[in-house]
């Protein structure tokens, strides 16, 4: 009863209130502009602009039909522009539907709906970005949204006191949040996972395309962070981070291919003391593999397996940040399995690149051993003054890309060098493969971890040397500085290198660098302590408090079930009581009457829900005299049913039929209509 009594009837949102709701929506949607497609953003902006303008200059509002149609269209648009049912599609659908809901503000609860939907928008932001900054933004959004919600509920409270109240409420909720965070059973993200991201967050792909432009190498985003155990500090040129192994050469592109055999269970290689343990925190890259320091011997992560080419595959793509432990032996070389077949290591496309093949066989003839041949190939790269460039000229179409690279442009980056090198090796009958991964990393002195960026992506070659696969890196032969600096510097080297290095050495540069390191450390700690707080951490927390959860597990489950059953029962009875309380809410007459009032409202009759039927008729007469006759019939039926209580079955039916057939048309167009009353 009270809920009905509290609803404010005759709702006409003030312009200020309407604008506040709009600001809330904009505030909550803005961060998603990084996530959703451009057409979706444009649609949103158009809807907002129209909403703003409609308030300003009283433009016509979209009717129910238009809104429905628009809703369906937007639904389609969200899916089409975001490549299917991705998370982005859901979010853009949500944003657009909220923007559309802004046009439907007839009751206070419509405003409430918009504001409450905004909370969902806020929460969905966490799917995309959970850094400190965005978390702070989200908290700010929650504060503001709550204030607007308060302001709508209690219009007497101006925005500033509402903000203060919102602050008090949220700050009081904070300890509860902290408690729940610490003790509420964590549901790990992996349980059902999140929908796949639209675009891979990394330039790292499962294939290397020779002619493609290097789009990833200039990105400075973090790829992953590594903390070594026992204070181990690798040297710069030991930092080869193994990703996937590419076997399948199709001329210009290399694909994964090859055998996907899991390694033998016990990779019992190397002495125990040579093993280096470390923890990797991998940013989501939407691919099915993990990275580990060359050469990994063990990786502990659920659903991941070490393959016999020492690539680590995962059963599901990494769609959220993932932490795992690894163990590597630094100077170990992958064993060439005796059972291994030579063919995948020698596979080449049938034709193409004749000059490269010719060069390979010529050099192989002059070399006594495979090792000498490799040396000669290195010499070839060094002597012919190959240059390192992140923006090499692309081979004209129709030419053989490897030939063009080896004999014409002679300029490229790691992909070109490694791929052409491996091609030459294979052409000469030496088994070779490509390894796609990262090279390098930057130590963060504050956090004691290594940061590996997207721009550290690298490709190198592994060639069969007797019983081992030997790592060779042709890029270093050409550009030794690649081993010392990451690609961002390499790009700078193309003319601005002196300026850049000057900057790096200046006090400001060093200060900037340390600032960056501190910030990255904060982010890393945030990820480590907050975002990755897991069930295991909870166990540890309770253990440190002297509570062994393992012991209480059964009891805990029982308690959980009891609470769930209790909750369901309470909910059931509440629902029952609620339904019994308003038995008439759902009855046919009331529904029909509401439909009628809705129709009148669309016809431009302003009627408040505190007005009874007689006043409604007066309102109709005032606003739409042409409808008076037909409306009066319906209103008389309603009065007879509701207030004279003379309802008969056929009267009810006639009432419903009359309402169904009541088509008032739009306001302003009633000249064309001929009502019964006229």
């Amino acid at each position: 009863m009270t809920t009905r009594a509290n609803a404010t009837p005759g709702f006409a949102p003030s312009r200020q209130e309407a604008h506040l709701v709009l600001y809330t929506v904009i505030l909550c949607t803005l961060p998603h502009f990084f996530n959703i497609s451009v057409p979706a953003i444009l649609l949103c902006l158009v809807l907002w602009a129209y909403h703003f303008a409609a308030h300003r200059w009283s433009l016509p509002r979209a009717g129910l039909m238009t809104r429905t149609l628009l809703g369906v269209l937007l639904f389609a648009a969200a899916i089409v522009t975001n490549e299917g049912l991705t998370l982005e599609a859901f979010v853009s659908l949500l944003t657009m539907m909220i923007a559309l809901k802004l046009f439907e503000q007839r009751h206070q609860r419509d405003e409430m709906t918009v504001v409450i939907l905004c909370y969902f928008l806020i929460v969905s932001g966490m799917f995309f970005d959970d850094s400190i900054l965005s978390t702070a933004y989200i908290l700010g959004c929650i504060l503001f949204t709550t204030a607007v919600l308060i302001h709508i509920q209690f219009p007497a409270l101006a925005l500033t006191p509402a903000l203060a109240l919102s602050w008090r409420l949220t700050s009081r909720a904070f300890p509860l949040m902290l408690l729940l965070f610490l003790v509420f059973p964590r549901i790990q993200g992996g349980l059902w996972g999140r929908p796949a991201l639209l675009e891979s967050n990394t330039g790292f792909a499962d294939e290397i395309s020779f002619g493609a432009v290097a789009r990833l190498a200039v990105r400075g985003d973090a790829a992953f962070r590594v903390t070594f155990e026992n204070g181990f500090r690798p040297t710069k040129n030991q930092l080869y981070w193994r990703g996937i192994v590419l076997w399948d050469c199709q001329g210009e592109t290399w694909k994964q291919g090859g055998q996907m055999r899991p390694a033998e269970r016990d990779m019992d290689m190397g002495a125990q003391e040579e093993r280096r343990g470390y923890t990797v925190t991998l940013e989501p890259h939407n691919q099915r593999w993990l990275f580990a320091l060359d050469l990994p011997v063990r990786v502990t992560s659920q659903g991941s397996r070490l393959h016999d080419d020492f690539a680590i595959h995962r059963s599901r793509p990494v769609t959220s940040r993932l932490s795992y432990q690894g163990e590597s032996i630094l100077d170990l070389q992958p064993v060439y399995q005796p059972t291994e077949d030579d063919r995948p290591g020698l596979q080449l496309p049938r034709g193409g690149n004749p000059r490269a093949r010719e060069l390979a066989s010529r050099l192989r003839r002059t070399a006594a051993t495979d090792a000498e041949f490799v040396e000669k190939l290195f010499d070839f790269y060094r002597e012919n003054r190959f240059t390192y460039s992140m923006t090499p000229a692309v081979a004209p179409s129709g030419t053989d890309a490897i030939d063009w690279f080896l004999f014409n442009s002679r300029s490229g980056f790691c992909e070109h060098f490694a791929a052409s090198f491996a091609f030459l090796l294979r052409a000469a009958g030496v088994p070779a493969r490509l390894v796609n991964g990262y090279f390098g990393g930057e130590e963060n002195p504050f956090g004691g971890y290594w940061l590996i960026r997207q721009s550290d992506a690298h490709v190198w070659v592994e060639v069969r040397n007797g019983d081992f696969w030997q790592r060779i890196d042709p890029t270093l032969a050409v550009a030794p500085e690649r081993g010392l600096e990451n690609a961002r510097v390499a790009t700078g080297a193309e003319g601005r290198d002196s300026l850049f290095s000057q900057f790096k050495q200046s006090a400001v540069g060093q200060w900037t660098a340390s600032l960056f390191n501190a910030w990255d450390m904060a982010n890393s700690r945030w990820n480590q302590w907050v975002m990755e707080y897991s069930f295991a951490d909870q166990f540890r927390l309770f253990a440190s408090l002297g509570i062994d959860l393992e012991k209480f597990k059964g009891l805990f489950q029982l308690l959980l079930i009891a609470v769930a059953v209790l909750g369901a029962t309470v909910f059931f009875f509440l629902a029952l009581a609620f339904m019994r309380k308003m038995p008439r809410e759902g009855d046919q007459v009331a529904r029909t009457w509401r439909v009628f009032r809705e129709k009148l409202e669309q016809a431009g009759v302003i009627a408040h829900d505190y007005q009874g039927p007689a006043d409604l008729l007066k309102a109709v007469t005032a606003a739409r005299p042409d409808l008076r006759g037909r409306a009066e019939v319906i209103i008389d039926f309603y009065i007879a049913i509701r207030y004279r209580e003379q309802a008969t079955a056929e009267m009810l039916a006639a009432f419903r039929q009359a309402v169904r057939q009541f088509r008032p048309g739009r306001p302003g167009r009633h000249n064309r209509m001929t009502g019964v009353g006229n």
């Binding site: 009863m1 009594a5 008439r584 009032r597 007005q611 039927p613 007689a614 019939v633 207030y643």
Partner: protein, 329 residues
């Protein structure tokens, strides 16, 4: 198309004649009554209607206004036009209950006590400046109003059948007065104020040199008819939907937090009766939410106070406040 189909539907009963089920004679009577009353009280159609509504609902009326605004004229005119007996009591602070109710006097000739009825034994009683009477007198009067009988010396004496009290009080002069407590205000069905006449009415008044209710004026009806009309009021239908609406209003007054104290059950009963009466005045034998809305402010005004400052509310404020209660669909 629409026209044809609308005609196919069975017509709702009584659609042709809007005022339903009440003989047209009664409606004419009301029109005539209001017209005659309007002759005496110029330009106060709304107040006249509310007074009639109050009378037919067997309620009592409190008029709060400054002197000389036509309160007595209204009460007198009501009595004359309805053919009812009229008495008037001017309250003072030395007045005793017996002055209103009556006293038993020893008759030396018969050797018996004989009862001399007070002013209250009438049909329309005008109690002028009720807040000047002492609490004792007030409560005696108000008890009689509620019980419709007077108990003197152990003997109950019923009051005449239509019994209607019009009490007035002056809102400005507070010195030497005994304001009616809330519990006694509740006994009055409605509180109205007349206010200054409008420009046109005042001009008419000045030109005519005032209106006089002549003693020999004949009433349009008599007590019997009034009694029957009162009976008819209680027959006016209060549908389930309307009772829901009434309850929503009562709940709102109690739970919304806007008012210090909500409407009492007696106020609820008063609201229902006044709504019925209002419906009858409009020729209907069923109550519509509009009836409730029209009479509600006059029923609530002397019963509700704001929650924060305990201040009295105006009619307009009450109208706006109760707009928060939607009519159940």
């Amino acid at each position: 198309m629409d026209t044809r189909q609308a005609n196919q539907c069975p017509s709702p009963p009584g659609q042709s004649a809007a005022p339903t089920d009440v003989p047209a004679k009664a409606l004419q009577l009301f029109a005539a009554l209001e017209q005659r009353l309007g002759v005496h009280v110029l330009g106060k159609e709304e107040q006249i209607r509310l007074s009639l509504c109050c009378l037919l609902a067997r309620g009592h009326l409190l008029i709060e206004d400054i002197p000389g605004i036509g309160k007595t004229t209204l009460a007198k005119a009501l009595a004359k036009v309805l053919g009812l007996k009229f008495r008037r009591v001017q309250c003072t602070n030395d007045m005793l209950p017996g002055d209103i109710l009556g006293v038993s006097v020893f008759d030396q000739r018969s050797g018996l006590f004989s009862f001399h009825p007070g002013a209250i034994f009438t049909q329309i009683l005008l109690v002028d400046e009720i807040n000047r009477a002492t609490a004792k007198t007030q409560s005696a009067l108000l008890e009689a109003m509620e019980e419709r009988q007077v108990s003197i010396e152990g003997e109950s004496r019923p009051l005449p059948a239509p019994f209607f009290v019009v009490a007035t009080q002056n809102p400005l002069e507070q010195a030497g007065t005994y304001p009616l407590p809330e519990s006694q205000l509740d006994r009055f069905l409605m509180k109205i104020s007349l206010g200054y006449p409008n420009h046109e009415a005042e001009r008419q008044l000045l030109v005519a040199g005032g209106t006089v209710v002549r003693d020999d004026e004949q009433g349009l009806v008599d007590a019997e008819v009034v009694f029957q009309l009162q009976e008819q009021v209680s027959q006016v239908r209060l549908s389930q939907a309307l009772v829901d609406y009434l309850q929503d209003i009562l709940n709102f007054s109690r739970n919304s937090g806007r008012f210090a104290i909500g409407l009492s059950p007696r106020a609820g009963l008063s609201l229902a009766r006044a709504s019925q009466s209002h419906a009858l005045l409009h020729g209907r034998n069923f109550v519509l939410p509009e009836d409730v809305r029209r009479v509600l402010p006059y029923i609530a005004i002397h019963r509700l106070k704001t929650a924060d400052s305990l201040a009295a509310l105006t009619i307009a404020e009450l109208e706006v406040a109760f707009q928060a209660v939607p009519v159940p669909a």
